[in-house]
């Protein structure tokens, strides 16, 4: 690390230039696609759009917002994100609280079995068969239950709970509070930072959910936004727009694709300041070994 006593050298100048270029490289794809989404089809196809819109138009976004398929995917994804994240956080807390208690009988064995699932899994096909056998295919629960607890998040929450002084829970227990009462009224109110972190971890996961939707959902009414987006932009030979919008002749395909990408990304960009703050904290807790 440089200190005040170190002379400023050519390296410092080069470093600033390098890091600025890295930051620019992170932003340019997003700026380019935003510019495409506002540009006329002619300008896009002739390769004249770089970082600013050329031949400004809003037809691309209008097509996205007027599309019943996209709106249904949006509503379903919002619903999935809210319900899914609530279930995730609740069940993770139910696991973390007893397992953070040092003298719980069987704690070690339970914990080892849980950690084992991080390193060995039955794989895609047996899991699919289980989800199918439970009758979850084509329901929102197929997108929630198989990932109820991310073990990594369970570790984060357990670590956090372990840091809360046990005397608080003890005195409540003396007063005759039940375990669930202690969890709800004492532990959780003291745990808002970890709850915020996990809510965002799980929330972004649901918002970005693609693979589970691809394998578990056939009913177009239950497509997630990412699945619709994939259909629209990477579905091979350009049938995407016809599938999603039911027509393709009168829509500006290229700016619609760009608009749909930004449409699915905007909420993440809006939430980013919060994400940044809490995610980094979570990642740091996670990197400390237990």
């Amino acid at each position: 690390m440089a200190t005040r006593r170190d002379p400023i050298t050519w390296f410092d100048a080069l470093n600033v230039v390098l890091l600025t270029m890295v930051a620019a490289a992170c932003l340019i794809p997003m700026i380019h696609v935003t510019a495409l989404s506002f540009s006329s089809e002619g300008a896009i196809l002739s390769g004249r759009v770089s970082l600013f819109p050329v031949g400004l138009q809003l037809q691309g976004y209008r097509t996205v917002f007027e599309s019943a398929a996209m709106m249904r995917a949006l509503v379903f994804t919002v619903y999935l994100t809210i319900v899914g994240t609530s279930v995730n956080v609740m069940i993770t807390a139910l696991g973390a609280y007893p397992l953070a208690k040092p003298d719980l009988v069987g704690r070690r064995v339970i914990w080892l079995l849980i950690l084992f699932t991080m390193f060995f899994s039955g794989g895609l096909i047996p899991t699919f068969i289980v989800v199918r056998a439970l009758g979850l295919l084509d329901t929102v629960w197929a997108l929630i239950l198989p990932g109820t607890i991310a073990t990594f998040n369970l570790i984060l929450m357990k670590t956090y709970f372990s840091g809360i002084p046990t005397s608080l829970a003890e005195s409540a227990r003396m007063d005759g509070a039940s375990e669930i009462g202690i969890l709800m009224r004492i532990i959780l109110p003291l745990s808002t930072p970890i709850i915020a972190t996990l809510t965002l971890f799980y929330g972004v996961g649901h918002w970005n959910q693609f693979f589970q939707a691809l394998i578990y959902i056939q009913d177009p009414d239950k497509y997630t936004l990412q699945l619709r987006l994939q259909q629209l932009i990477t579905d091979g030979i350009g049938f995407g727009p016809t599938v999603v919008f039911g027509r393709s002749d009168d829509i500006p395909v290229e700016s619609v694709k760009a608009g749909a990408i930004m449409f699915a990304t905007a909420p993440v960009l809006i939430a980013f300041p919060f994400l940044q703050k809490h995610f980094v904290k979570g990642a740091l807790i996670g990197s400390l070994k237990e």
Binding site: M1, A2, I8, F11, D12, N15, V16, L19, T20, V22, C26, L27, P29, M30, H32, V33, I44, S46, G47, R48, V49, S50, P98, V105, I114, T117, F120, S121, G122, G123, L124, I125, P126, I129, V130, R132, P146, T148, I149, E179, V204, N208, F210, I215, Q226, L229, Q230, I233, T234, G236, E254, K257, I261, A264, T265, F272, F279, V280, L284, S287
Partner: protein, 305 residues
């Protein structure tokens, strides 16, 4: 001994409500982790989905023999390992270098701004990232080819040339996660003892010497852990990235174990064979991770987990 077991029982009875709270957690791990682990036995049967595991005919290692006789399997195995090994050379050092550069920045505000920007791509889905990349690299409308043309070059078909595709696959991973990967190193860097730097300064060590003799040795354990975890996962490959960036023109390099299991198992409905491929991957991966952990123990006396 009797009193010990008695007190265990008493503790269990005292904590009965805690076990009650754990019930949904047990249910989750049993149903969605341990039942599939048992269900993987289907790899040894000619699985019939209507008859279930017990109603299906046992065929022993037939599915595995089929797998090892299948050229497609070796192609996806090669692609999986190849993409991961290149990642080890490219995506593993990238966050380390970025973290060291960030650590040398004098201006705090610049450092924080760059950090915030490079974290951003981590939160985008692979669908969005592949959409961005395909747009940016489009031969007709993409900004990269516009720059190439403005220098008098010809448009490059990045996504359909196998060699270019591998490069783009690597680049996209670095683009999405290089910033995120710096977090663990920056945490390790901020935990280094400032006294070491002071002592080095008194001895007249230059910035470069301090980097070489204080900083790098100080974060070597962290580097090692990250490296061994990547090595341990050399057989694991996510589904989203190769599937979403891939296309029929580059299938010879883009088809990997995850996309193969999906295609054979769920699209062609060959459950037993796909489960066998999945089991092969799980077992190899497990052995690799245990080996990595053992190595970590040997080298620095501390396991990964």
């Amino acid at each position: 001994m009797l009193t010990l077991t008695e007190s265990r029982w008493r503790r269990m009875i005292r904590d009965r409500h805690l076990y009650l709270l754990l019930l949904p957690v047990f249910a989750y791990y049993i149903v969605f982790h341990f039942v599939p682990m048992y269900g993987v036995l289907m790899a040894f049967t000619d699985f019939n989905i209507f008859a279930g595991l017990r109603g299906s005919a046992w065929v022993g290692l037939e599915n595995f023999q089929m797998m090892f006789r299948n050229d497609d399997f070796f192609i996806v195995l090669r692609n999986t390992v190849l993409l991961n090994v290149i990642s080890l050379l490219v995506a593993f050092p990238a966050p380390l270098i970025l973290a060291l550069l960030l650590n040398e920045v004098r201006n705090r505000r610049l450092k924080r701004t760059v950090q915030a920007i490079v974290y951003l791509p981590h939160f985008l889905s692979w669908v969005v990232v592949s959409g961005l990349i395909i747009s940016v690299l489009s031969p007709s409308s993409g900004i990269v080819n516009a720059v190439i043309r403005s220098f008098g070059g010809e448009s490059v078909y990045f996504m359909t040339e196998p060699a270019w595709w591998i490069a783009i696959y690597q680049f996209s991973g670095v683009w999405k996660d290089v910033g995120w990967g710096t977090i663990i190193y920056l945490a390790a860097l901020s935990a280094l003892d400032p006294n070491l730097y002071d002592a080095a300064m008194i001895d007249g060590a230059s910035r470069w010497q301090r980097l070489k003799h204080v900083t790098i040795p100080g974060i070597t354990p962290t580097i090692l852990v990250v490296f061994l975890l990547s090595v341990g996962n050399v057989m694991t490959i996510s589904f989203d990235r190769p599937f979403l960036l891939g296309n029929p023109m580059v299938l010879e390099v883009a088809d990997v174990i995850s996309t193969y299991v999906y295609r054979v198992g769920l699209l062609n409905v060959d459950y037993s064979y796909a489960a066998a491929v999945g089991l092969f991957q799980s077992v190899v991966n497990f052995v690799f991770l245990l080996t990595a952990n053992w190595l970590s123990n040997r080298i620095k006396g501390q396991g990964l987990f």
